[in-house]
Amino acid sequence: MRALLKLLRCEFAKLRRKPLFFASAAISALIPLGCALFLPDFHAFTSGAEAVEGMMSTLFQMSAYLLLMPALVVLAANLLFEEQDNDILKNLMAVPVSKPALALAKMALLFLFAIAFMAAGGLVNLVIVLAAGWEPDGFWRLFFVGIGQGVMMWAGALPCVLIVVLLNRSYIVSVIITFFYTAVNYIFGTSDFFITQPFGFNPGTLLPGPLAFRWFFQYLDASEPGAQMAALWERISPYFVTTPQAFLVVVMESAVFLTLIALVYKRRNG
């Protein structure tokens, strides 16, 4: 464990002057700011609770699915290929550093990045709500739901990371795979077919998009829903997954895919 922490500290040190990483982090504020500035709904909010709800919902549905997920895979490709591209693995192995431990440290860095991404997005929302003069009612509950969703997106990105590592191809191929995976994940996450499946061994539970949706959606305030929202709520509420159920799947999938990523990375030539 100490060795892993040491590797994680080194992973942080390697991030210096990495524009890709900082650009990815910066986009966490993109959607909240965009919503505040350009979304007509934002100006129609009548209370702080409604503003928090609307903005955090956008963070969950847009930032997490469309920005965080691809950012995680592209960053993973960048992190996992950097030693190979720059012929550094031999120096690390001569220390010795084990390749599986190195791969796990990189995944741990991405885990922290996912949490920080959602936390930053949530905090930007908070600042916007406060700046608009509203009371941020119910913010902190949704803030932690956002953190949880960050963890889910990280776990959901691992299968795609595995494909990228397995194919061992150029960044362009990685980016194409990433955007295909992101699109599929988003479509599945909003498809009735996937989000109306019971908890169990089925795509609605195992795929990250539908699972995250069935988890975070129950935390949104349904006390005064519009007609469309009420209909959606009625359809999917029987299929909500509890927090222990959701994170059991996350833990199990993470364990499987982290092991596979570590094994594939181990087979790489140093």
Partner: protein
């Protein structure tokens, strides 16, 4: 307990049907500089990679500090400093930042380790220049700094003077020599540059097509590099017969009709010339030659010379 810091037994590496290294058994003694000499592609780097566990041998064994490397990597590798092939570092970091990462991984808390390592290779500490902006020579120096930073007992250096200018080469040579002489380090160094090996190494292994052809101390090799006489005569076969019959010289070699080589330290050249002339063999030239290490390399590899 073995006397050798590095010992390989029947080390072999196959890539497909081709043997990159074949049945290699080298012996590196403590406190000595061992030069692994061979042409490009002779198998030097593959050998060194196997010594560090970077490439798994197809067969054979590597023993370092008297222990098999396999299964003891965590105990053995921290005692080794290495430079294999081209220098590999994070391009977005400075030299200092790069070394700090490796210092952290090696558990070297004191920043002096990084500072001292950079000083010994004449690279500035806390310089703002990124590794990606380094010249080839600076990259090579940084790689040497990494190899020595943790004060290892054994250094494995693959072509360490690559990319260095003549002054840099001399500095690195002196530095390596001093590491051995004053700090008692054991050093395995590979090169395709014969003069470098002859200037640095105490022991030499000659490798060609993955096969270790010779392994001896430099002194032994120099002693082997015998002197020889070359005669230009009117009839080389007749001269060879005369030298054999009258002077007992059995290894006179006829190169062609008029040229004869005698590799025999006992030969009295004056007596030989007198004998040949008196027997009616005209001698137009008699010269004493001395083999260089390069001649010896050519001889043992049966091929062309080396840089």
């Amino acid at each position: 307990m073995s006397d050798y810091v590095i010992e390989t037994r029947g080390l072999t590496k196959r890539f497909g049907a081709q043997n990159s290294v074949s049945d290699l058994s080298i012996h590196v003694r403590k406190g000595r500089i061992y030069g692994l000499l061979g042409r490009n592609g002779a198998g030097k780097t593959t050998t060194m990679r196997m010594l560090l566990g970077l490439t798994a041998p197809s067969s054979g064994e590597v023993r370092i500090f008297g222990r098999p490397l396999r299964g003891n990597e965590k105990r053995i590798l921290p005692r080794i400093g290495s430079l294999i092939e081209s220098p590999g570092f994070y391009p977005n970091l400075t030299g200092t930042e790069n070394l700090r990462i490796f210092a952290e991984l090696r558990g070297l808390k004191d920043p002096e380790y990084v500072k001292t390592a950079l000083e010994v290779v004449n690279l500035p500490y806390r310089d703002k220049k990124l590794f990606s902006q380094y010249s080839l020579g600076m990259k090579q120096r940084l790689a040497i700094a990494l190899a020595v930073m943790h004060n290892p007992e054994l250094l494995i250096l693959d072509e360490p003077i690559n990319g260095l200018d003549p002054i840099g080469i001399a500095e690195v040579r002196d530095f390596i020599r001093a590491l051995c002489d004053t700090s008692g380090k054991t050093i395995l160094i590979s090169s395709h540059i014969l003069s470098e090996i002859s200037l640095l190494a105490d022991d030499i292994g000659i490798i060609d097509h993955g096969v270790l052809l010779e392994e001896e101390s430099l002194a032994e090799l120099e002693a082997k590099n015998g002197k020889y006489y070359r005669f230009i005569v009117s009839s080389a076969p007749q001269a060879a017969d005369l030298l054999r019959d009258k002077l007992g010289i059995r290894n006179a070699q006829v190169n062609h009709t008029h040229e004869l080589t005698v590799r025999d330290a006992r030969l009295d050249a004056g007596a030989a010339v007198r004998l040949l002339v008196e027997a009616g063999v005209a001698v137009s030239d008699a010269h004493l030659y001395e083999d260089t290490l390069e001649d010896y390399f050519k001889e043992v590899t049966g091929g062309e010379g080396i840089a």
